[in-house]
Symmetry: C2
Subunit: 336 residues, 2 copies
Amino acid sequence: MTAPFTDLSGFQDLLAEAPGPDTAARAGAEARNGQLTKPPGALGRLEDLAIWYAGWRGTDRPEINKPQVLVFAGNHGVCAQGVSAFPPEVTVQMVANFEHGGAAINQLSKAFGAEMAVHAIDLDTPTADFTTAPAMSEAEVVSALQTGWTAIDPDADLLVTGEMGIGNTTAAAAVAAACLGGTAADWTGRGTGIDDAGLSRKTDVVAKGLALHTPTDPLNALRCLGGRELAAMAGAIAAARHHRIPVILDGFICSAAASVLETAQTGALDHAVAGHLSAEGAHERMLEALGKEPLLRLGLRLGEGSGAALAIGVLKGAIACHSGMATFAEAGVSDG
Amino acid sequence: MTAPFTDLSGFQDLLAEAPGPDTAARAGAEARNGQLTKPPGALGRLEDLAIWYAGWRGTDRPEINKPQVLVFAGNHGVCAQGVSAFPPEVTVQMVANFEHGGAAINQLSKAFGAEMAVHAIDLDTPTADFTTAPAMSEAEVVSALQTGWTAIDPDADLLVTGEMGIGNTTAAAAVAAACLGGTAADWTGRGTGIDDAGLSRKTDVVAKGLALHTPTDPLNALRCLGGRELAAMAGAIAAARHHRIPVILDGFICSAAASVLETAQTGALDHAVAGHLSAEGAHERMLEALGKEPLLRLGLRLGEGSGAALAIGVLKGAIACHSGMATFAEAGVSDG
């Protein structure tokens, strides 16, 4: 597959042209939901999820048979500023762990019947340190967006995007501040577990990046402050919209990548739900800014797509009920 | 299988003799958790769940291969007081729906690989109306406890108990007040969806039951104010403890049945986690009283075991990560 864009302007145009849900399928799913053998509203958020999913899939009685989990990995020049508790070599080591099936996301993908693939993007060429230069050239960020866009299986019926990249909560905090407003301190957190001194240093690094770069649009914020794995996630989430594949967003870094899309084009995340609330401090603020209520609140802060993969189970449960339950008429049950 | 008790006193004795977790397996699981390829604590509550489950299963690397979902149904004499939005015939109609595979719990059991069975308990003999007489005789409540106890598959590795019984949020509210303290208004909610006048009437009914019966112990509170499906759930949860089978509690009615056990014997629910927070108003208060933090908060209020069955996915994800992930040494990943 070739990506249908060759520069940031072309990608922006695709966001503007993105399809909406099938309103007839959505209405059909709403009608069906009202006839199922349960008191009205008794399945709570599962009902909303099923109706939302039905609209995007274009059928009032959808199934989830082919979830896809895509993990993108990138390295970050800003690691030279001492922003992470782990050394940058861990990115490539963890990619090997993904490839050998040993990481959390491998287990979760298997547990919920998802096909998982990992895309390591130019790990031996970290992005530039954004405290001194733009993280990426336009060609580099476009290439990463294309990697994400073309990684999508058009036959998938659900997408989770995850990431690995030592230093990437720093990049995500800077991107979030540039796209959503607020200060470096509002968005900077402990990532994999830095101490107080590290957090203070990391906040200064984000502030320095924000002071140096004054991107005029979200896609250039992604270019100047982001990373290849963030761009690839943004590309994959945009491609999923193009194919009407619903998306479950993961934690802080995935949501920061997604916020680029929503800021570039209001409604660009209408096909996405928030899988979970991460323990990374600023994720709650980010989900509020995106208007997304997380499905799970279990204190995860691993990345890799792990929180979103766990939420596949919730969505599968919602769709199983919606599409599998008997109606009052079918079951001969009095409806109150 | 025959239940190892013939009266309430014998059941109380079994609660006192219940086994605890395997502390060596638990310690082994804690040690393993510290070696897995993730930053410490990054899987949040999934880590605590896996260690808890390992202790009860007696192995540091457990699996979940055989979850069991048991749905108990009963009818309630107190329905004569107009406490439900649905007529009592719906109990037997929904049992038929369970048997034909058409209810929400059927879909969720299938989605999460659980064996499901439904036990309709004397539906043509409702409990007595507790505003005028004890809901059950000792023989009746013991029989229901035995039904629950013997419904357990001793080879199951996880248990969910659910229920169906028009009028049973009324019984559950009365049992909760008797076991956990507080007023009728503290525990009475809208159930399947009664209006304000209905809620007021239902609260008065619960208050009347509490005024009429002054049970001196939790098992007699269950007898005087509960129902057969509540007693069966209590029996099944106690039997699971006997077999060291971990339990996921469902919503308001299941938790009320469980609160009988915890009140009768402190620690009787140590082998249980709360699957979800129900939208039934007083469930939050009940879980606080039991010291249980719910895994899911999705606004379900259906019963049947539906919220707990959905949480099987969360627990499966936790165990898949814990038992399937590579250690830092196995994967050759630097541990910070």
